[in-house]
């Protein structure tokens, strides 16, 4: 096949299925295209099959059916050491009996590279992760964050075209994790390498990726850029999994073009954007971000106006989370920014809440 387009799929999962035990599918019909130079994150709850997908790509697990292609070449039958894919493991897997320098020069040695070339490359890779002076240390003499950098440098030193990372920052504390996120992103941009990144931390996924594939139940629920994922989730799982979300369940009573009317609870009618609704009379889940709800709303600007009673206030510094009881739903959350001029809200107060139909997405029932 000839494929000269730049945005052509570089890594492709083509109807891939995987079963470990022969009775349940851990990965069900996975189709995924990853462009050259892209930073793709696989995000999903525990057990959703992310690691399995990564292992199939790296060659440590075989796909039960379907093809995995790397640059148009099926790689199902290529053993891992011939795939030329770098990998950062969750526990780093730095070889404990070798120094940092030996760890880094290992992939170059097994490729038969000469000593001087090796040393130059190792030095460059160490400098890239700002660990230039640590070449003589053993992995056990490094902190978690330093080991992480070395693992990253080792996966990159032999200049693979694809690098896989399986929750590489899982063991680090919050501050360090944020710094490393930035550094990994930075390295990705400067090297132009294709990265497939696995995490179950949604903030990490949203801040680092070009594209995020949300996994659940062995399937990709949505594949999109971070902002799309957050603002325009396509199903109830994605809406609930990414960010904070108000979920309202109801039945569609009318549809006019893009807008549908949904009856919730007893007599409450909500106008919502029709995203993933079968038709009139169908069950649906409404998804509404807490920050898109306005308090003290004027009639004219909002499609939906309701009153609710304040149940609880949670102070979070930059904003206040207000838990309101709306139409029998006690878990309705509104985020009120902590800006100058905002009035004080008290528990027990009646609030007028408003939101537009465009911000309220009618999704599949869940």
């Amino acid at each position: 096949m000839f494929d000269t387009r730049d945005d052509a799929a570089f890594v492709r999962f083509d109807r891939v299925q995987k079963s470990y035990d022969g009775s349940t599918l851990v990965v069900k019909d996975l189709n995924l295209d990853i462009a050259r130079g892209e930073f793709l994150t696989m995000l999903g709850p525990s057990g959703s099959g992310k690691t399995t997908c990564l292992m199939m790509l790296a060659g440590f697990e075989t796909a039960t059916s379907g093809d995995i292609l790397l640059g148009d070449r099926p790689i199902n039958n290529i053993p891992p050491h011939k795939r030329g894919i770098g990998m950062v493991f969750q526990n780093y897997a730095l070889f404990p009996h070798m120094t940092v320098g030996e760890n880094l020069s290992f992939p170059l040695e097994v490729r038969g590279m000469g000593k001087s070339d090796r040393e130059a490359k190792v030095k460059r890779a160490l400098d890239m992760v700002q660990m230039g002076s640590f070449a003589g240390r053993r992995p056990a003499q490094l902190s978690g964050g330093q080991q992480q950098r070395i693992a990253l440098a080792r996966a990159l030193v032999f200049e693979p075209e694809v690098v896989l990372m399986d929750e590489p920052l899982g063991a680090l504390d919050k501050n360090l994790r944020e710094r490393m996120q930035y550094e990994i992103k930075h390295i990705h941009e400067s090297l132009g390498v294709t990265v497939v990144y696995v995490t179950h931390d949604q903030t990490e996924a949203l801040t680092m990726s070009d594209k995020v594939a949300v996994f659940d139940d062995g399937k990709i629920q949505q594949l999109a850029a971070p902002d799309t994922l957050y603002e325009r989730p396509e199903n109830a799982f994605v809406a609930a999994f990414i960010g904070e979300n108000n979920t309202l369940r109801g039945r569609v009573t009318a549809i006019e073009g893009d807008i549908c009317t949904v009856r919730i609870g007893g007599d409450m009618q909500v106008r919502a954007l029709r995203v993933n609704v079968d038709g009139e009379g169908a069950e649906t889940t409404l998804s509404l971000r807490p920050e898109r709800v306005q308090i003290d709303a004027g009639e004219d600007r909002f499609d939906n106006i309701f009153t609710g009673k304040v149940q609880e206030l949670i102070y979070l510094g930059d904003h206040i989370r207000v838990r309101v009881s709306v139409a029998g739903n006690d878990e309705f959350i509104v985020k009120v920014p902590n800006a100058t001029g905002e009035r004080k809200i008290k528990v027990g107060e009646e609030l007028r809440l408003g939101w537009t139909a465009a911000d309220c997405r009618a999704l599949d029932p869940s």
Partner: protein, 435 residues
């Protein structure tokens, strides 16, 4: 409360301590002393906990070993039996037979010994002792002892008439040489050497050298057994370490079976299998691989020792290996492969080096146990499969030459310690992982 009471006294007493370390605790005790006191109590508690074991070891291990080492140089027999003779022999040049006065002294010694109650007599043990150096010495002495009362001066003739050995300068040299409370002659014998006429140490006749070659054979057998255990144990340990726990335990039981069956059952099984009319030979003959008239001899020789001991010592190799391998995460091998190493390279460069602490521990265990192993070689080793321990046992139980047994045992012990020391210098004993 107690602190407040103790406070002033302690501060007063600790002036010098404070000036040295500077820091003091809240109640004024110098920090160093407070720390020492707390440490001391902990150490005392720890010591009390191990004290019973220490006492036990002292009684049943350290003390007997000390005794054994002492016995290898202890040499009281001649000194106790013939003090007058030794006195008279002082200054003798060792070239010609001693003069009459020495024989007279010898006679006096014999007579004095005959006066003693039978259990305290010393001449008999001296005969045994001298017999180690010169066979027939014991016969000469006991025959002389029976008739010595009837001797008349000149004693020289009387002794020479009684037994021709008294006319042998060699015997007198030995009496003079061994007439000291400490001796090295057991070690000289254990190294296949002897004293010549000048009293210098020379090699024995070719056909009487046994111990050095036996030591070498023991060493070679132990190395071979250790290596075989490694060859057989490594794959099993590796396999167990990647199997699910359930199957690994099952396999472990198979490996441990030799521990759980009685030694005699095991040995009988080996005999049934390996002997000339045994299962293996019969099978080979039936299959036509070997002829009926040249059946393999696989037992009562070195092969028997190697086979049986490898079987018995295998668990000592497998257990440390398994416990080390179990802790090596599979991600190392995966990482190596993802970095481009072929499975063989990944194994050699990444997996194998990490098993070295287990290999070291297993090899040290197997080697040290097999170098002193006794019962299996005795049962299935025959002549060529004997090891040094069998010789030690023979001297303790049959020839009753405890001094020589002690010298051989001490050399074995020192040899093991030297090897362990070398291992420690080369590899480092702190890297060993026994389990």
């Amino acid at each position: 409360m107690a602190q407040a009471d103790a406070g002033p006294a302690l501060t007063g007493a600790s002036g010098s301590g404070r000036s040295r370390s500077g820091l003091v605790t809240a109640d004024g005790t110098p920090l160093r002393r407070a720390l020492e006191r707390a440490e001391r109590r902990r150490k005392l508690a720890a010591f009390l906990l191990v004290a019973p074991l220490l006492a036990f070891l002292l009684v049943v291990f350290i003390f007997p070993i000390g005794q054994m080492m002492w016995r290898s140089v202890d040499n009281p027999q001649v000194v106790d039996a013939v003090p007058r003779t030794l006195e008279a022999l002082r200054g003798w040049d060792g070239n010609e037979l001693p003069e009459e006065r020495v024989f007279a002294a010898l006679h006096a010694d014999f007579m004095a010994d005959a006066e003693l109650p039978r259990r305290e007599q010393k001449i008999g043990p001296m005969g045994i002792r001298l017999n180690y150096e010169l066979s027939a010495a014991r016969g000469a002495i006991s025959r002389t002892g029976r008739n010595v009362e009837s001797f008349e001066p000149p004693y020289k003739e009387a002794f020479l008439d009684q037994h021709r050995l008294w006319g042998d300068v060699e015997l007198w040299r030995i009496i003079q040489r061994e007439g000291r409370p400490l001796t090295l002659s057991y070690y000289v014998a254990a190294l296949d050497r002897q004293y010549d006429a000048d009293g210098s140490v020379v090699l024995r006749d070719e056909n009487r050298r046994i111990y050095v070659s036996l030591f070498m054979r023991t060493l070679a057998l132990s190395v071979a057994i250790t290596f075989l255990c490694f060859l057989l144990g490594f794959p099993i340990a590796y396999w167990m370490s990647i199997l699910p726990m359930r199957y690994a335990n099952l396999l472990m039981i198979c490996v441990l079976l030799p521990f759980w069956t009685s030694l005699l059952v095991r040995t009988t099984a080996w005999i049934v299998l390996l002997q000339q009319q045994g299962v293996i030979n019969t099978m080979l003959v039936t299959l036509g691989i070997i002829g009926d008239d040249n059946r393999l001899s696989m037992i009562y020789n070195m092969t028997g020792t190697i086979v049986a001991m490898t079987h018995i010592l295998l668990p000592f190799m497998v257990l440390p290996l398994y416990s080390v391998m179990r802790t090596i995460p599979p991600s190392y091998m995966r990482a190596a492969k993802s970095l481009g190493a072929t499975p063989a390279t990944a194994f050699r460069r990444v997996y194998f080096p990490q098993t070295l602490p287990g290999i070291g521990a297993g090899a040290v265990l197997v080697f040290i146990i097999s170098i002193g192993y006794y019962i299996t070689p005795a049962l299935v080793g025959g002549q060529t499969g004997r090891m040094i321990s069998n010789e030690i046992a023979r001297h303790m139980q049959q020839s009753l030459n405890w001094g020589l047994a002690a010298a051989l045992g001490t050399m074995l012990l020192v040899g093991v310690l030297i090897l362990y020391w070398a291992y420690n210098r080369l590899v480092g004993a702190d890297t060993l992982k026994f389990g």
